[in-house]
């Protein structure tokens, strides 16, 4: 199972992929060839959002993207959001608000929440539910995740309102 060579631009760095099988998804290559295991495989058909990454600034399910089709397009994974031990505001408030239990859906949700709050600065609860409905969590019942998103929005608004 090998033969393909190509380069992916992941988290700002060119990463060579050697001896890949053409049938490998972006999720497979990120996890098994590049060692970036933050994106998780849970349904393998784009239903659960656990494998969410950004490709060309678009939130996608990496299980549905062929790795070779992502050549030449910037890819951001959860590992590219923050340095080890220095979580983003979204990540920190996920922890503080109790939005993390088993944590398997969490990296995908963190990607989706960053994407949401980049586009909609202060989403309503209905907007949060609609926007994140492509990310399934089996542990939390979503209540603490919504709380975390709302707290991030409030905190960012406070930052914006600080007099310059």
């Amino acid at each position: 199972m090998s033969g393909e060579h190509f380069t992916l631009h992941v988290n700002g760095v060119d990463r060579e992929v050697r001896d890949s099988w053409l049938g490998e998804s972006l999720l497979d290559v990120l996890r098994d060839r590049l060692g970036l295991v933050g994106a998780k495989g849970a349904c393998e058909q784009g239903e659960c959002g656990s494998c969410s990454v950004l490709v060309d600034d678009n939130l996608v399910c990496s299980c549905l993207v062929m790795a070779a089709a992502a050549v030449g397009r910037p890819i951001i994974t959860v590992e590219g959001l923050s340095d080890p031990g220095l979580p983003t505001d979204v990540q920190q408030l996920f922890v503080d608000a109790g939005a993390v239990q088993c944590g398997f859906c969490t990296p995908g949700l963190v990607m989706a929440v960053h994407d949401l709050l980049d586009r909609v600065v202060e989403p309503t609860e209905t907007e949060i539910r609609e926007e994140l409905a492509g990310n399934v969590c089996r542990c939390t019942g979503y209540g603490r995740i919504i709380e975390a998103v709302q707290r991030v929005a409030v905190s960012r608004r406070a930052d914006r309102e600080v007099p310059r």
């Binding site: 996890r31 979580p87 993390v100 088993c102 990296p107 089996r138 019942g141």
Partner: protein, 770 residues
């Protein structure tokens, strides 16, 4: 939802506070290592060949073509199992690989190891198995009747259990009855089954990194199948992506170790979602007939019930699931007389076993549906009929067992009733202009509901759940506490599956020992068993063990401080982070007092012994009980059969909330699974073949399906619990289901004055609108 207010003076990180998870930052950053993330140098991939037939004789297996594929290193079958050919939690009736007969679609027949997952798939395709099809036993009633030939040497009835109490001939002024059904639910944890097996050089042992609920039980079954001493089999908990019962049984553990030992190389296995639906046990589908006799005032006189649980092809924990169902047929209500018969039977369906709620879920849907019928027959409302029957501490169950735990059933009901109803107007309209927010309508963005037709209903569910294991099983837990230089290091084999025991353990240690710095050792089999992360038992059992180990360590600390200062250890206490003399002025920081001490204590915690039920279902078979009430508000479009759950209110008997935020997380998450069973989730099998084994067709609640939850924690510390805290994981799942169904019934009754029985879950649109 607001978390119950806490006193402000709780020292951060101790019992009663909600500190951040120690694994939280790693989980949000994607660096937490789940079992599917673990690899090793030179590692091969393993995969499993499964039966496509529900019942067939294996005529031949031809492996030659698989062996010839480039990249394939091993192909194994039952002939390659060196030890016990079967495994199982209670009875060992499930083959590692089928050798003569396959009994369900998905039963393992062979396994391969190769250089790449795709090579594995091609190798599985290349294996030729010739089957002779046999008649499949798919009707549990046929299994009970005894007419069909046994599909397993152990027979077709896994267990029959009767519960007889009081006067079997007692009658009431009012009689209501019904037959209720529940479909098969999947645990659907997100972290698929995955493991890495690393053989010892020389092949004398193996180390398995696996996501499981009970490391030591896995090891027991694994060692027997591998024909190894348990000491040669080491298990390490791989990061667990949810469990909910589905990781209590063996899945890939034996296959992965067999391949690794055969090859002398590390082998990793990872199920796909489709394989996961076949590779673990599910919640039992059940059919329950139940009749209530009551006084005209609505007080229960007698229950009669017949419960049939389809266990699928192998026993797993079916017999224990059945015991929960028959012993909790009365619900959280007084019931002086009972005649209950239950069967767990074997069929050629997918095997069933543990899932959150474990038998209580099935019984509760039936008996709570009955309570509403009883209310109607007696002219009472849903709350009043439940209050009139609510169980209290000291009441005796239909098994003859007294409920010695705190039993605040009445408080659960009253405090749920006191919670506010949703502000949302019916149909999700917003503002005085009556504009419709379509996202809040039943059917959501599909625009399939007309807001003018939507009807709101309210329904109730109240439940009882046994905590810990039952019927004589000593499911003890072990913990070790080392204390030095102000640092407590805690060791346990308790499977952290997401529930947050890693927080609770540290909170206990900080509270008991007066230290801030608590470190947790790896979770593995290098210490005694902790029992399973199931049955709402780890806070009580492993929490009890950590508490006891820390108390033992604290005794050593007090002895040392006492000796140094000429004080009796008994007069010393922990105050904050200091050791203090309760009768004098001494105050020494624990950090200083332990600077030169090396304390090391290991303790096993056991709960009081229980007994096996006798033939009439009598005996103190359960360890402890917890209670909860749920009130559901739903909006229903009766014409299209669509349901939007608007709000769940709940008051739960938690004993004592050691970590309030975690309790809320368990409540909300458990309710989501109860909602799933009520209106969404069912594994569909046709002629024994699963038809929806994927997340496109097996519907899980999303952000849009799950409503806000309003909750009250009923905190009456239980004197039998080591920390006063009851397990909180299962109750939210149990009575949320009947509450939602009752609310749908209420809405339909309002819509046309008649309503629908809705005696089966999940409730489908066609059940509502046709």
């Amino acid at each position: 939802m607001t978390v119950t207010d806490r006193p402000a003076d709780i020292r951060p990180g101790t019992i009663g506070s909600s500190p951040p998870r120690p694994d939280g930052v790693a989980k949000v950053q994607g660096s937490f290592e789940f079992s599917s993330d673990i690899s090793a140098d030179g590692c091969l991939w393993g995969a499993t060949l499964r039966s496509p037939h529900p019942h067939a004789r294996i005529v031949s297996i031809d492996l030659a073509a698989a062996w010839q594929l480039d990249g394939v290193s091993a192909v194994i079958t039952a002939e390659d199992v060196p030890g016990e050919m079967n495994y199982g939690l209670i009875s060992q009736d499930q083959p590692v690989f089928a050798s003569d007969v396959v009994r369900y679609v998905g039963e393992p027949v062979a396994a391969v190891a190769a250089d790449h997952p795709e090579t594995c798939r091609r190798a599985l395709d290349a294996i030729v198995v010739e089957y002779e099809l046999l008649d499949a036993l798919l009707d549990p009633e046929v299994a009970i009747a005894g007419d069909a030939a046994p599909i397993h040497p152990d027979g077709n009835v896994i267990r029959h259990q009767r519960v007889l109490s009081g006067d079997p001939d007692a009658v009431g002024d009012v009689v209501v009855e019904g037959t209720y059904e529940l479909g098969m639910q999947d645990q659907a944890f997100l972290g698929l089954e995955a493991a890495l097996a690393i053989p010892d050089s020389g092949g004398g042992g193996v180390e398995l990194h696996v996501a499981t609920q009970w490391l030591h039980e896995d090891r027991r079954q694994l060692a027997a199948c591998l024909a190894m001493d348990e000491s040669a089999v080491r298990l390490v908990l791989g990061g667990v992506g949810g469990a909910f019962g589905a990781r209590e049984d063996i899945s890939l553990q034996v296959h992965c170790c067999l391949l690794a030992l055969r090859l002398g190389r590390p082998v990793r296995m990872a199920y796909s979602r489709a394989e996961s639906f076949l590779g673990h046990v599910h919640r039992h589908p059940a059919k329950i007939w139940i009749r209530h006799h009551a006084t005209s005032g609505g007080e229960i006189v007698k229950i009669e019930a017949r419960m049939v649980f389809d266990g699928g092809a192998y026993a797993s924990t079916s017999s224990a699931v059945l015991v929960n169902a028959v012993t909790m047929a009365q619900g959280p209500y007084r019931c002086p007389n009972a005649v209950v018969d239950g069967w767990a039977v074997r069929t050629n369906h997918l095997p069933c076993g543990a899932m959150r709620g474990f038998g209580a879920v099935q019984a509760c849907f039936a008996q709570e549906s009955q309570m509403d019928k009883l209310a109607e027959a007696c002219g009472l409302d849903a709350v009043e009929v439940r209050l009139r029957n609510a169980m209290r501490t000291g009441d005796v169950l239909i098994t003859g067992q007294p409920v010695l735990n705190v039993a605040p059933v009445e408080r659960c009901i009253r405090e749920t009733d006191a919670l506010p109803l949703p502000d949302e107007p019916v149909g999700g309209t917003v503002g005085a202009d009556g504009a419709v927010d379509v996202m809040k309508l039943p059917g959501g963005a599909g625009l399939t509901a007309d807001a003018g037709d939507v009807v709101r209903g309210i329904g109730w569910g109240v439940s009882i759940k046994n905590l810990m294991y039952s019927e004589g099983f000593d499911d003890y837990a072990t913990a070790r506490c080392r204390l030095h230089g102000g640092v407590a290091t805690i060791k346990f084999a308790t499977a952290e599956v997401g529930q947050g025991f890693v927080m609770i353990a540290a909170q206990i240690a900080r509270t008991i020992l007066g230290v801030d710095d608590v470190r947790l050792d790896p979770i593995d089999t290098q210490i005694g068993s902790a029992g399973s992360t199931s049955a709402s038992r780890q806070t009580w059992m492993s929490g009890g063990a950590v508490d006891a180990a820390c108390r033992a360590a604290r005794e050593r600390l007090f002895e040392a401080v006492g000796a140094a200062h000429g004080l009796e250890p008994v007069q010393l206490a922990i105050d904050g982070t200091d050791v203090v003399d309760t009768m004098g002025d001494l105050r020494v920081p624990v950090v200083d007092a332990t600077a030169d001490l090396e304390i090391d204590e290991t303790v096993e915690y056991h709960h009081p012994q229980t007994v096996h039920l006798d033939e009439n279902g009598q005996g103190n078979c359960h360890t402890a009980f917890a209670f909860v009430a749920h009130r559901a508000v739903v909006d229903v479009d009766p014409e299209l059969g669509l349901v939007k759950v608007v709000q769940i209110a709940t008051a739960q008997d938690v004993g004592r909330a050691l970590n309030p935020l975690s309790v809320i997380g368990q409540i909300e998450g458990g309710i989501a699974q109860g909602l799933g069973l009520a209106v969404m989730e069912e594994i569909i099998q046709v002629d024994g073949v699963i038809r929806n084994g994927n997340f496109t067709d097996y519907l899980l609640p999303t952000f849009l399906d799950m409503p806000p939850v309003v909750a009250t924690l009923i905190e009456e510390p239980d004197p039998h619990a080591p920390l006063g805290a009851k397990g909180v994981g299962e109750p939210p799942t149990i009575s949320s289901t009947p509450a939602i169904v009752a609310a749908i019934r209420d809405a339909l009754r309002q819509a046309d004055g008649v309503g629908k029985p809705l005696s089966r879950v999940p409730v489908r649109p066609s059940d509502i609108c046709l």
